[in-house]
Amino acid sequence: MNKYLTLFLILFIPTKSLALIEVDITRGNLNPLPIAVSPLSIDNESKQNFEKILRKKNIGLEISSVIENNLKISGLFNPLNKDAFLQAPDIANLKPRFEDWNLIKAQALITGKVSFVNEKLRVEFRLWDVLAGKEMMALAFTTVPNNWRRVGHIITDKVYERLTGEKGYFDTRIIYVAEEGPKTKRIKKLAIMDQDGANNKFLTLGNELVLTPRFNPTSQMVTYLSYFRNLPRVYLLDIETGIQEVVGDFPGMTFAPRFSPDGKKIIMSFAKDGNSEIYTMDLENRIVEKITNHPSIDTSPSYSPDGKYICFNSDRSGYQQIYVMKSDGSNVKRISFGKGLYGTPVWSPRGDLIAFTKLHKGKFYIGVMRTDGKGERLLTENFYQEAPSWSPNGRVLIFYRETKTDTKGEGFSAKLWSIDLTGYNERLVNTPTDASDPSWSSLLSN
């Protein structure tokens, strides 16, 4: 996919003045920052050219809508209604009349310009501090016209980073399992979409059961479980070429795969004779290593971002709990000691937290704890939910939720949801079908 992305950074003008606007993302944000996203201006000739290629009447308006929607779902920004804008987009991009934007209570303003240059899409945008009356950032990109949504995502990432001080997560994708059919005969397919739900694509046909897809660090490969020929095995899929291969040659079920942070290994469970152990396989030299050695169930392994530790799920204490060990399998320590059962530990990309699923008194929770098990925080409670996956900046978790069926056993659904680390901003992530097992990619433009 990255092959198609030829993104050139043409101009970069960092401003010297300190930003007056700041967005605090460490707490639940109950007062999202009012921001005006002026439609990106476009000249008539460019407009017509893009309409021919992309079948969009006004691509400038479309890109600004992508930005607006991103800002809205972040929960940190409140994009203002365009009807209230007084200044025309082209003039605003040259020099905003700050009094006008101040009047509608905008604190930040995004303006920009789209043009058709050598068959390519050229976008420049500016971020303005309305109260201070200053330009905060100006950037321009040139790319193939089909990448127009990604331009919107990249602009959002730049704005988010400038205003929060942390990397964004908008130019990303979600791989997940699309579900259809009755609960007893579910048909499952691998599917991929942009973080905002656009560009949904199915990657398998649904002939065999597939589960738990996870991206590699560059988001070009996916490891997942497939029941191809009724042999549940861990597979590797190259998203661009569509080539799939089975991982290793295990005489039994392999499952719960993830990549190591350097992308060179796959860590997974191998079950044999009623005992599941954690193994790694080096993708280059195919060397297999056994990491755990215990007659209990050891599964759901996840590396720390520095690759030195592994958190995993084990019932060696009698019930499902979360453990941490060194990456060679030594120094196994239980870290979950709260009431209930714990599963699906996932190390955060920042390294300081582990997200998990908890079952207590018939309710399921998504929560986080520090890597020593202290500071447990439950973010959301529901009838059934599990499998959190971190946004690449470690600020948002995506997971799936299933509904209770009625007395006739009907009304089942599975959907993706996201929630901020703060416990605020819980949102349904729209998918064309039912969905489960989401995995968030890294930032694609990094």
Binding site: P182, T184, S269, A271, S276, L341, L359, Y384
Partner: protein, 173 residues
């Protein structure tokens, strides 16, 4: 200082209490074993404790040979009824020595997907081990875990879940 002393006394008492409780626990366990759990587990309709005892979903490999056994939540221990079913399956397999089977292990929907895959494998293997002690060769039995992916009952209630916690012997040839 006062606090410290009190704590010391408490700890001593606690240790004694622990010992008493431990003994009591062992005695209780022994009682339970003797009475075959009859006193501790309620039989309600189609469940004993939370193990399914009904026949709604059961199919038959041959006349009088049920195809599945059921488990308690999070458990892979075979119940008395399960062992009886498996002995019938073993007898049938001994009589039909050309037949091979797949043991399909399942879990209910009240657990995380990956753990349930492991649990299904453990349940199917519990059944496999038992069949092997009754003389069925391991090369006639393969094991396949579906975790919670293939429930037989789509209900979201304890009875439905009990039907789904199962190991099913399926003829493979």
């Amino acid at each position: 200082m006062k606090k410290l002393i009190i704590r010391n006394i408490d700890q001593g008492a606690l240790m004694k209490l622990n010992k008493i409780l431990k003994n009591a626990f062992l005695v209780t366990l022994a009682c339970l074993a003797l009475s075959a759990c009859a006193t501790s587990k309620k039989t309600t309709g189609q469940m004993q404790g939370d193990v399914y005892t009904g026949t709604d979903t059961v199919e038959y490999l041959a006349s009088g040979v049920p195809d599945r056994v059921f488990f308690a939540t999070n458990e892979s221990v075979l119940t008395t009824a399960s062992r009886e079913t498996l002995r019938k399956q073993a007898a049938w397999l001994r009589k039909n020595s050309d037949i091979t089977i797949v043991l399909e292990g399942h879990a209910d929907e009240r657990g995380t997907r990956e753990y349930n895959l492991a649990l299904g494998e453990r349940r199917a293997n519990a059944a496999k081990d038992y069949l092997m002690t009754y003389g069925i060769s391991s090369d006639r039995i393969s094991v396949l875990s579906y975790g919670k992916e293939r429930p037989v009952d789509s209900g979201s209630n304890p009875l439905s879940w009990s039907k789904n916690r199962r190991s099913v012997s399926v003829k493979a040839n």
